[in-house]
Symmetry: C2
Subunit: 896 residues, 2 copies
């Protein structure tokens, strides 16, 4: 199955130039350079680059990522010629270092490290000190005049090789080491003598034999071959696979393998090792930052056995070396024009740089560094825009927990809506409202939420749901409110009757404090301190640049004046989706809605709708005022009517009492409206076709509100959006109904307001016949949530049961409800845009699904020529930056 | 909304040649001809044609259908110039007839009749004897020397005009007529004297004044104008609209209006009127057939007041006229080359032909006439194939009720599966099986059926369901079995506890006899006699010609050896869809299936699957044997697993007991598998991705069965079909799994069998990426049921609540689940075929949705280049004929 055409072409390309598997670097010259990341991996490319620009890098060579790909294609065998090239490069390396690999008199030791094109820190395998054997150790002792170091190097090598290559459990070695330490009565590894370490080596040999039935290999080339294979294999180990999925790293060939002469930070008090950042990775401050350890190897820093010293200290301990390191910092940052994360080792007073890469950083640091690099004239504004991953901006907009606090995790669910919240547990929406009214902070805990819970969701500080996915209704609503939400926490077993929930043996009762991290999807016991976000001046500057660069407008999905104001603060340029049904649940309105649904005839429905009219009109007035001067797209009633009816016995009785009808009648209605697949049922414009009076009431409410606020001097641009259109005639019938009402309102009010009537394109058929729909529709908004569900045949509420397995098996690279499936759904979106503009070249086109806030999807929208994207308020900055990046990328591509 | 571009172009075309609204015929010359049906309507075109070929037709003229269209576009006003043209043609008519319209001395009377391009018998309006007034009656008396006739003509005219044009209730006139008859003490209209009829006229005048406040118009042109408008208006009266929907008549401009000189069959004993068919419309026998009435007008025949005489009788009564009529019969049939339905009137010994048209006929007659016309060398085989509507063949394949029986209808539902059945009512599947086992005939009555009911459905003679549509699961299964089924009978209120159902005040209890007509969707009280179908030699001949003409292969959807045999008898050339899940419900298998579903681990599932393996293998052996020499496409497990679990308390308890698990566990599983939108849930290949062991068991069962029957000399061509593929990788993973099992079976059995692995294209995304899927898939079968649901965003189980309104409002011309939505779904089908063949030019492509048996859809499949269609066994002959017609039509189009 691996013989897909794309791969085939890659394969033959790889084989045709198969001559070169290995790239050498050393003596200030290198065969590779920083641009060859795809082929040499990030580490290898940077080692080559650093070598070329005169940074002191130990010599070595890199086996390409293509070689790794061929290894997998060949059934995990080396391609023809690799062995020879490795031996030739090893000879060059021996010459450069003046030592010999596997030689007992003058041994060359090497490290074998992974390094893919994208950074995957710690995910793949590494072997150090390779080339040692009992005999070679003797040579090393003579060469270094340091017996303890030599035996320590060998036992470290055995331990790593034994673990990584021979798959002997790490603990088996630690056990022996600890035993020797106990016998000697010492605490630290460093207190062991050469003799002790020699005993450790002997014990390790026994461990290896016992666990594998084999002896530890003594041949240097056998060690090298096996280590290279281990690194190749580690490309697809479970944690590497998982890391790539989580970080959306796809399309790479494999890992490169870097074989490099060893340098040692553990050769005494003039040796050491450390890591530094050219700027502060937490804050972005332009200050040299890092830490180091004297007499230690790199893994000692990582293992955290000894506490490293801050870099400042080095200026006192080793001023000359510190000065060299500062020079390297300047040189590398100037060269790479970005903050660098540098690994270094000092061997007996000589500085070596082992790695440099663009440093990982917090969102705040990313923004500050990007903006300051522009100020320092190191990068252009366009480049600065590309330096910040739009997805991380979320971190800057929501509260977070004070990171210094200890926390006890109860459970992990899905990070459904970002932010941090702490409060007391309640189990229903009414309690959430009541407790909040009394001044309590609450967390609403539900198995799942229904639209009826909206008041409680709004009142709560955060929401925890046992069911539901990232794009469930509750998650969408929570994100719209900027409310922290953890969903799909399947281990949470809720007992409403006893007002408690359990996770395993942990029981949380009503009134207990819990804390939610909606960005991580985690739930903690007790009360945690939250830190409110503060938007920096650099953030504002970066956003201003983004607005200057982008072509796409960014609107928001907002249903209330409050949401609208938040979104406007975040830079929204209008409302792309105002869902009118959410207004139907508030307060007493639901009673009128239910009265309408229960009516047997038009007159009854019109009577109930007349009660709703002033309320809807009031909502629209508030929203129009909040969006003064900006367009507002109002979607008419969309959900199936049964969503407005109560399904529990208790509530049905209450409804019957309130409306003065029999319980039987309520039950019959609920039964009659039951649907097997409500997603594909009687909803959207199908409701308005069956009950035109609903659309007419809504048209009247919109236009009366528009006329009223206009009198107050508000500039208003209503865009009426008909949902779920699939047939041209559906749209035509409803547009006609709407126009008649609007004209009537204009006559009554004695004024006119410019407005448009358009449609959502959310059914595959609508995209297909978009040219016909555009005959009447004045704008399109792609509802990519539903379009994804129908194009893929997935219900987002049900896909949870298999979508995980799908992403895991690589069938989907990303959750298609979070990032637009460009190949499938994207085809229909593009078709819809093209077809629509065929009929109406100036057709205004936008997107209002969840995808409007996903950077990759925003770029897609830019590419297909949409006018705007619309997303939840807190995603507006993300969309603005993503839209700017799309423009910059396009500009770059055109230059090429 | 009427300004769509297509209509616009029609409009301007109509206006540019607007010069000619009226076409004259008379004196053996005509401006029109039979080919101008679109413009002159069927009646007008044939009147012109008959005039030209010398048939004695009363002279007249036809106002075109385009004029009707313009009338509607102009806000129901006549277009400029129409009035003048009508007056000019009336002048011609007066000249031809030697009389004058509205003249009191020598009056010309005319009829005004509708006539669209498609026959809509009785749906639109007619006015006869137009041109009379109290003064003109006097002239008519002098002219005809028949006072009684003249007054009778006037009162008939008043009654029709009053009803049709002035909208006075018919009964108001009847009431007066009856009153006069009672006063005179006579029984029949014909017993009234001239004086009596004069009194009737006076009373009618009063009726008109009372109901309309106006006098009956006396001006002939006013009468004419108003009658023409009434006919135009009747084009869109409710019954005409409904008729066009039911008969799928779309895209016509409107009705033509025929104004023709009156001839009278009621001028005494040498006058008369009648209707004849050139062949027997019930049997197709080539024998002159018809009936006539002496001294009567056409509506007397229709009204059924007097019993007409058979045509034979005329050869004795009026031998000369009979001879003329026989000559007309021969001339018209020779001319039109099809069986004609002819209306005639004899006025004082002179024969007039008022209409001819292709006669409506039963299915049996249609087949016989088509075949005999070829024998008589009147038409070619290709023409004969075009003469039979494939849809009517259904009538020939199923039992029908003896048409002579009286019947009492209880309720009308949807004609879900054709045929007639009579039996005693039972209310659950177990009873259906038990009663049948005891030798009873039963009708299974359910609110809705579930797959568990399959045994009972099979046992029953017919199925009545209160819910569900034409394409509900039960309907599909019933059609597959050729079992009569009435579905969606919403008025049926079933009480399972009391074992009875009610329709209004009618109560039917368990054991009562009822009869179902599945072709009409009707349910009758009591036991009715059924007539089994007998396939004629003509049918076989026509089918043979069809097989010679068609390019599309026709397969069947069959899940059992029995179904397979039936389908083969009907000419199926393989199985296009064998649904393996139906096999999972039979007998004890469901226990093993449930055991599998309840298993918590792979080992448990494999254990349960091992029990299913021999049963599935046995099924496949039976099917392969039945289809010896023909390909069999086997679809792997498709429905969501919850369909296999019981949902009622009782059954869950039983299941827990049988499997030896707790009731709680069963309930939890049912709960865990619950889905909001099962259509879009965990089903199809998604199951096999989650549980590869299911697909592997099925692959093993298929291939072991194939090897086993091959040993017996059966030729077997299995095609394994993976359902619900949307992603290329889904298919690749499963194909690999299947191939591994198949190769293993081949090794075990020591033989190989040619086989294919392909997929259903039923998700929009699959059609979009068909080029990629075809890299691995060796065949495509379009699952247009699901593809329609997803492309249109309609669940077929839920669409019932609005689809009716949609068809009514003209949003859909046809139910898209019955006839493929070619514009929307068809786009994706065509895209899928093209994309698939781009990768694999010889890709075998078929369709296996319900549409495979719909003639319009079959033609579409032919057009897009599919290799085959597959449909339920009883639809195979329909598909064969439809496929032949598609070929013939294509041949014709190419010739042009």
């Amino acid at each position: 199955m691996k013989t897909a055409s794309k791969s085939k072409s890659k394969k033959s390309a790889a084989q045709s130039k198969a001559a070169k598997f290995v790239y050498f670097f050393g003596n200030a010259k290198a065969e590779g350079n920083a641009k060859m990341k795809e082929l040499l991996g990030g580490k290898g490319a940077n080692l080559a680059e650093m070598t070329s620009i005169g940074i002191p890098v130990p010599a070595g060579f890199t086996i390409t990522t293509e070689t790794c790909d061929l290894f997998y294609r060949n059934g995990k065998k080396w391609p023809q010629g690799l062995e020879e090239q490795i031996r030739a490069n090893m000879a060059k390396l021996e010459k450069a270092m003046g030592a010999k690999f596997g030689d007992r008199d003058n041994p060359l030791l090497v490290s074998v490290r992974s390094g893919a094109a994208a950074s995957m820190p710690g995910m793949m395998d590494t072997v150090l000190n390779l080339g040692l054997s009992p005999e070679v150790v003797q040579g090393l002792i003579i060469k270094t005049e340091n017996e303890r170091f030599a035996w320590d190097a060998y036992r470290r090598f055995m331990q790593m090789f034994g673990d990584v290559v021979m798959e002997v459990d790490h603990d088996a070695f630690e056990h022996e080491l600890e035993d020797v330490k106990r016998k000697r009565g010492v605490e630290n590894d460093t207190d062991l003598t050469a003799a002790d370490l020699k005993e450790v080596v002997t014990r390790y040999q026994a461990v290896i034999r016992k666990h594998t039935g084999e002896d530890f290999p003594t041949d240097a080339y056998e060690q090298l071959r096996k280590s290279i294979n281990a690194v190749f294999n580690s490309w697809n180990n479970p944690r590497a696979l998982r890391y790539r999925q989580l970080n959306e790293i796809f399309g790479l060939l494999g890992t490169a393998v870097n074989i490099q002469a060893m340098v040692f930070g553990n050769m005494g008090d003039t040796s050491g090792t450390g890591v530094c950042f050219t700027r502060n990775p937490s804050t972005g401050e332009n200050k040299f930052y890092g830490e180091f350890l004297v007499n230690a190897q790199g893994e000692d820093v990582v293992a955290g056995i000894r506490t490293p010293m801050p870099l400042d200290q080095m200026s006192k301990t080793w001023p000359a070396i510190y000065k060299q390191l500062v020079a390297v910092r300047t040189k590398l940052e100037n060269h790479y024009r970005d903050m660098q994360d540098i690994e270094f080792t000092i061997q007996e007073g000589k500085l070596y740089i082992l790695q440099t890469r663009n440093g990982k950083r917090t969102a705040a640091a990313a923004v500050r560094i990007a903006v300051e690099l522009v100020k320092e004239k190191r990068v252009s504004q366009d480049e600065a825009l590309m330096r910040v991953d739009p997805r991380v901006l979320d971190q800057l907009l929501h509260p977070t927990f004070n990171p210094k606090q200890a926390r006890t995790k109860i459970v992990k669910g899905l990070p459904a809506s970002p932010g941090a919240a702490t409060g007391r547990v309640v189990f229903n929406a009414e309690d959430a409202e009541a407790w909040t009214a009394k001044g309590e902070k609450v967390i609403l805990v539900r198995i799942e939420t229904s639209p009826e819970d909206i008041g409680g969701m709004f009142a709560a500080k955060g929401i925890l749901m046992a069911r539901g996915g990232m794009t469930s209704h509750a998650a969408v609503v929570a994100r719209g409110m900027g409310k922290c939400c953890v969903a799909g926490a399947g281990e949470v077993v809720i007992n409403y009757a006893r007002k408690e929930f359990r996770v395993g043996s942990t029981v949380v009762k009503e009134g207990d404090w819990v804390s939610l991290d909606g960005s991580l999807g985690e739930v903690y016991q007790g009360k945690l301190e939250t830190v409110d976000p503060e938007l920096s001046g650099e953030f504002a500057k970066l956003m201003k640049w983004a607005d200057g660069a982008r072509k796409l407008k960014v609107r928001t999905n907002a249903d209330t004046p409050a949401d609208s104001k938040v979104a406007r603060k975040f830079g929204a340029e209008g409302i792309g989706l105002c869902r009118t049904e959410h207004m139907f649940f508030e307060g007493d309105r639901i009673i009128a809605v239910r009265e309408m649904i229960l009516s047997d005839d038009l007159a009854g429905r019109e009577k109930a709708l007349a009660k709703l009219l002033p309320m809807q009109r009031g909502d629209f007035e508030g929203i129009f005022e909040a969006m003064n001067g900006l367009p507002v797209t109002i979607r008419f009633l969309d959900p199936p009517l049964h969503e407005f009816l109560p399904h529990e016995d208790e509530n049905q009785k209450e409804m019957a009492a309130v409306l003065g009808v029999s319980l039987e009648k309520v039950r019959q209605k609920v039964e009659a409206l039951h649907e097997f697949n409500p997603m594909l049922g009687h909803r959207g414009c199908r409701l308005a076709i069956s009950y035109p009076e609903i659309a007419k009431m809504q048209a009247r409410a919109v236009m009366e509100a528009a006329c009223n606020v206009k009198k107050k001097g508000v500039k208003v641009f209503p865009e009426i959006m008909i949902p779920l259109v699939g047939m041209k005639k559906e749209f035509e019938i409803l547009k006609q109904d709407i126009i008649e009402v609007v004209e009537q309102v204009f006559r009554e009010k004695g004024q006119k307001i410019p407005y448009m009537v358009g449609t959502m394109i959310e059914i595959p058929r609508a995209a297909i016949i978009a040219d016909k729909i555009a005959e009447g529709a004045e704008f399109f908004s792609f509802g990519t949530n539903d379009l994804t569900q129908m194009t893929l045949g997935f219900s987002r509420d049900d896909a949870g049961s298999f979508l995980g397995a799908y992403v895991e098996k690589g069938i989907f690279e990303k959750d298609p409800f979070q990032s637009l499936d460009q190949e499938g759904v994207g085809y229909l979106v593009q078709l819809g845009v093209q077809n629509g503009r065929k009929t109406r070249p100036d057709l205004k086109v936008g997107i209002c699904g969840e995808h409007g806030g996903d950077p990759a999807s925003v770029e897609f929208c830019h590419r297909v020529g949409m006018n705007y994207v619309s997303c939840s308020p807190f995603r507006v900055p993300i969309a603005r930056l993503a839209a700017a990046q799309a423009s910059v990328r396009e500009k770059k591509a055109k230059k090429k």
